[in-house]
Each structure stands twice: as structure tokens, then as C-alpha cells.
Subunit: 159 residues, 2 copies
């Protein structure tokens, strides 16, 4: 049963992660002034693949336990917000709404981690690198906002 659940949760991660291939960082992102702690482009997909495996493992473990309601609800919320950030930031080039989305994601990941910790500490720990990465992503998005006032004003027409 673990592996069936793992595959479904991993498919959810890959669904959200498909936005990374569909809305890649293009000339617009390269033109932005980035903060000193910006990772090189190749780090993002590698890190996400590791995090997806951690997230799917945590989801599959917790899904088998009784009393998993709150943890499962936050798992669903975090994947919905996870898949929203890339189209907003790279697709719409909307740095402002992107920051709200990534901060909402941070809250969902933190609360989900707490809920998982209560019924399966291993799953809680598996979310720790995810929370760390979303913290870095939030700081990156905030710094890009501060360093690129003209890009924040410009935005991009949605159609």
C-alpha cells in the first residue's frame, strides 16, 4: 500500500512541478537584479526532485495512519499553492502576487509539518528540508521585489 500511495502523491508533486518546465525562467528572470544568495538555475530542479521524494514519502506514510485528517488537508493545500507560484512568478511575471503565494505556501508547509509531526515524527522531519527551501524561496522573492522596483510595476499582460 505504501508504494501505491507514494506514486499518487509523487504524481501530485510532478503535476505541480510541471509548471517549472512549462514556465521556465527566461530572459525576463535573467534580466532581474538578484540577491547574493540566489542559487544557480540548475540547483532548482535538482532540489525540487529531492523534495518531491521527501514530500511523497511523508504523504504516503501519514495517509496510512488513523487521525491523519489535518495533516492530509495541509498536504493538499501545500501542493495547490506550490503549483501556483511558478505560473504567477515566471508566467505572469508578477513578483508581488508571487510573494503572497510563496508566503501562503510557507504557512501551509509549516502547519502541515506540525500536524504530521504529531502522528508520525519521521514524516514531520521529511518536511523540514521543504520548509527550509520555501523559506529561501520566500527570501529570494522578497529580495527580487526590493531590488527591481521597475519590474514590479511593469508586470506582464496575461493574454
Amino acid at each position: 500500500m505504501f508504494w501505491i500511495l507514494f506514486c499518487i502523491f509523487l504524481a501530485a508533486c510532478l503535476g505541480a512541478g510541471a509548471t517549472g518546465g512549462l514556465f521556465p525562467p527566461g530572459p525576463w528572470y535573467r534580466s532581474l537584479t538578484k540577491p547574493w544568495f540566489t542559487p544557480p538555475d540548475w540547483v532548482f530542479p535538482v532540489t525540487w526532485m529531492v523534495l518531491y521524494v521527501c514530500m511523497a514519502t511523508a504523504g504516503a506514510r501519514v495517509a496510512q495512519l488513523d487521525g491523519n485528517g489535518v495533516a492530509m488537508a495541509f498536504w493538499a493545500l501545500q501542493i495547490a499553492l506550490n503549483g501556483l507560484w511558478t505560473p504567477v512568478f515566471f508566467g505572469l511575471q508578477n513578483i508581488r502576487v508571487g510573494l503572497f503565494v510563496v508566503l501562503g505556501l510557507w504557512v501551509a508547509v509549516a502547519l502541515g509539518m506540525g500536524a504530521m509531526w504529531q502522528i508520525d515524527p519521521v514524516s514531520g522531519l521529511l518536511f523540514a528540508p521543504y520548509l527550509l527551501w520555501v523559506t529561501i524561496a520566500s527570501a529570494l522573492n522578497a529580495a527580487v521585489w526590493r531590488l527591481n522596483p521597475q519590474a514590479v510595476r511593469a508586470g506582464r499582460p496575461s493574454a
Copy 2:
């Protein structure tokens, strides 16, 4: 506990649904040849709000039950794919990838409905209008593909 869970699942729905406001149907969509069964624009947000309430209710009910693992995993998968379709179709104007996404969503909703039905028939029934709507959306996407070969070839640069 039901209402806490309902609010978290509804937030996940609204996270996925935010793509509807961020990537609205614009001049490109209006320029497409649509099939005879295309609903008017205002029907979409109204229908989705009703479906979100049904989906969040089903999620909150099933989340409280033991043995909910597969149902919860599919709930997460369907919301990830749900939030992916709008940025692909209206954002990238990619009719082809949009069809693959909505067909994947159809499978996730159907399997999730079956898994919920086994542990809580009411929740399974609450997913029935959702499956019907995704069936219509799939047919609409497929018909738009067939009726607009030039738009299918054109696509839109992602950045």
C-alpha cells in the same frame, strides 16, 4: 473538526481556483472557434464555486475516517492537476498540453470518487458533479483543438 478541515480543503480549492482570476479568458480565447455546447463565460466561476464547496465537504468528511489513504492521495492529486490546467490553457495558450492535463484530471477525479465512495458514499456522490464538469471541460478542450488547427500550431512564448 469538520469545519477546520473544510476551511483547509476550501483554501486548497481557492488556491487552485486563483488561476482563473490570474489567467482570465482574454481576446485569444474569444477569437477561438468554440463547439455548440460551450457554456457562456459567467457559468464557469459560478459552477466552480459550487464544485469547490462540494469538493471541500467531501475532503473534510473523508479526512475524519480511518482507512482514507487512497482517497486523500487522489484528493491531493486532483487539486494539483486542477490548478495546472488554467495556466497551461489560458496562460501558455497551449491547447494540446491543456488536453493532456484535463484528461489526467479526469482520471484523478474518477479514481478519487471511487476511493471515497468505498468509505463514505456521500463524499463519492459529492464528487459526481465535479466529474461531470471535468468531462464537459475535456470535451470542450478537445473540440477547441479540432476546430482551431492554426491556434494549436501557434502556441504562445512562455517568457
